[in-house]
């Protein structure tokens, strides 16, 4: 009982909520780059939060259902067909054994999530199915999906198709404002440098991947060049010697020795991860208190977002 990969596309990865509690042996977290689209996909399918889905970067994935079930695709705008018929994102669809689910390439945003009812049944390594290619861990043998891969999932015949109303669907733009919790070596950056950081426009460079997004713009100078290596949290904004900020994301190294000016709010790294090279980024400071408030609101929103049954 599975889905067969006909074409893997550019970069399709098995992801769950991420690998936690393993930093002591040097393992990073992995998990979905856009946690919001990932969470909504699971919710529309009635899955437990953090169930295993596929993260599709840029598109090109084609699957053949070898089982009767229901699928849902959320995230970046991407043309979707099921057996050649156009199908909508942000809603679950019935598929039968033999059906072909095909995604073209993203037209706004760059990461989409494809799930099935119950999630894909992928063996866990170190407590998670999340694929981290740099570590060769998780997913299927630590690798991205390849043609011919079989993704086990259950036969499901009972499920009421759900949709997220249009007005609640996220929109992906080519600019993002990232809220930053000041911290780490923030006090080593002069007031002038901090002002420059929070008032300039940065552009996503070609060097953006699941480890981090390297940005280009006015260089930020830190009073110190290096620090004793220390733990790096999700969203940490590292300023290397060239002054160009790097926002460290899901597949980041767990420790490093560059100064950091603070860390991006995860709600905004979700939007950042939908930007492609050339996308614009602005930074604005936020207190830890306000950050916690935003996280609670977002969590409550995910749980209470109005989802509707699809018309028959």
């Amino acid at each position: 009982m599975s889905m067969r990969v006909i074409q893997p596309g550019l970069l399709s990865l098995i992801q769950d909520g991420g690998r936690h509690g393993k930093h002591n042996i040097g393992l990073t977290t992995g998990g979905p780059m856009d946690g919001q689209a990932f969470a909504i996909c699971n919710r529309l399918l009635g899955n437990e939060p953090g169930s295993t889905l596929i993260e599709i970067s840029f598109g090109g994935l084609q699957l053949e259902a070898q089982v009767d079930t229901f699928v849902c695709i959320t995230g970046a705008e991407i043309p979707l067909t099921i057996n050649g018929q156009d199908a909508a994102l942000w809603q679950s669809h019935r598929v039968r054994a033999g059906d072909v689910i095909a995604l073209e390439f993203t037209t706004a945003g760059c990461r989409a999530y494809l799930g099935v009812v119950g999630g894909f049944d992928i063996p866990q390594s170190f407590g998670s199915s999340a694929t981290v290619m740099r570590e060769h861990i998780g997913g299927l043998n630590g690798e991205k999906l390849h043609s011919g891969d079989q993704l086990p999932c259950a036969t499901v015949t009972e499920h009421r198709c759900k949709q997220l109303p249009l007005e609640h669907q996220p929109r992906y733009h080519d600019s993002v404002t990232v809220r930053v919790i000041p911290g780490y070596q923030q006090s080593h950056f002069s007031r002038l440098q901090q002002r420059r950081f929070f008032s300039s426009t940065y552009e996503v460079s070609d060097r953006c991947d699941r480890m981090g997004y390297r940005l280009e713009g006015p260089a930020i100078d830190c009073g110190i060049s290096g620090i004793l290596s220390e733990g790096i949290c999700h969203g940490a904004i590292q300023i290397p010697a060239d002054g160009q900020p790097i926002v460290l994301l899901n597949d980041r190294q767990t420790i490093g020795g560059y100064p950091k000016i603070g860390s991006a709010l995860s709600l905004d790294t979700h939007a950042l991860a939908q930007l492609r090279p050339g996308g614009k980024v602005f930074f604005t400071p936020i207190s830890t208190h306000a950050a916690h408030n935003a996280l609670h609101l977002a969590n409550s929103y995910i749980l209470r977002q109005p989802i509707r049954e699809c018309p028959p």
Binding site: N24, I181, Y184, G231, G235
Partner: protein, 230 residues
């Protein structure tokens, strides 16, 4: 430096327990990590101990910044690092085949240090090293401190491919590469043991706080222990 707690991110705080590398600071980091684990319970997501700091990652939907900060403060108030705590941890001896064929930078490092390769090997084996941190890649343990006579700066151009098991030096740190990876450290030998094996339990032979010693083995012993030259 006094102990400081700084904000790190939306769900993390970083505790600085010193500003230099020393066994006593490292022991304080270890002890703090154990106590914080106990104090936070389910609200703790992960910890990253390093040379002189501890990153504490918590679940912001279960607790908040203030509670975590308070919990860490009370741990720090009762922190009493005795000599016992400094020396606790396992002692692990790692065999190394030191040679020009297994360590591409051994001869250069010796020449730059004004020593013979035999001196470099002897000095590297004489020292006991403490595992200060694990990171960079799964199973990569930062060991310190290397004797100043054989300390060497990182290569100006990192190698694209460092073999698995490579024993290397960068400044006053030494390490064994757990897997093939790019790297800029000076290679002086190869260790035949696996430093990271997802299929074995434990996954790694060392943990932060352990003491590591190196023992020189010859070519035949290296192969007998499962070593490979690539």
């Amino acid at each position: 430096m006094t102990t400081e707690i700084h904000s790190a991110g939306e769900n993390s705080l970083i505790v600085y327990l010193g500003d230099s590398t020393s066994p006593s600071v490292s022991a304080r980091v270890q002890l703090t990590a154990q106590r914080v684990t106990h104090a936070l319970g389910d609200a703790l997501i992960d910890l990253v101990p390093s040379y002189a700091s501890l990153l504490v990652i918590y679940d912001p939907l279960l607790t908040d910044h203030f509670h975590v900060q308070q919990a860490i403060r009370s741990v720090l108030l009762t922190l009493d690092v005795t000599e016992d705590a400094v020396t606790q941890g396992n002692r692990i001896t790692l065999p190394v085949y030191y040679s020009a064929e297994s360590g591409a930078d051994l001869l250069t490092l010796a020449a730059n240090s004004g020593l013979t390769p035999e001196d470099v090997i002897r000095i590297h084996c004489e020292q006991e090293y403490r595992v200060y941190a694990i990171g960079f890649a799964p199973g990569f343990a930062y060991l310190g401190e290397v004797d100043e006579r054989i300390a060497a700066p990182r290569l100006s151009t990192p190698r694209q491919r460092v073999p698995r098991g490579a024993v290397a030096i960068a400044d006053r740190q030494t390490a064994v590469y757990p897997a093939v990876s790019p790297g800029g450290w000076n290679l002086i030998g190869l260790c035949p043991l696996r430093m990271f094996d997802p299929d074995s339990n434990p996954t790694m032979p060392v943990a932060v706080g352990d003491i590591v010693c190196f023992e020189s083995v010859d070519r035949d012993q290296f192969f007998a222990l499962g070593g490979e030259l690539s």
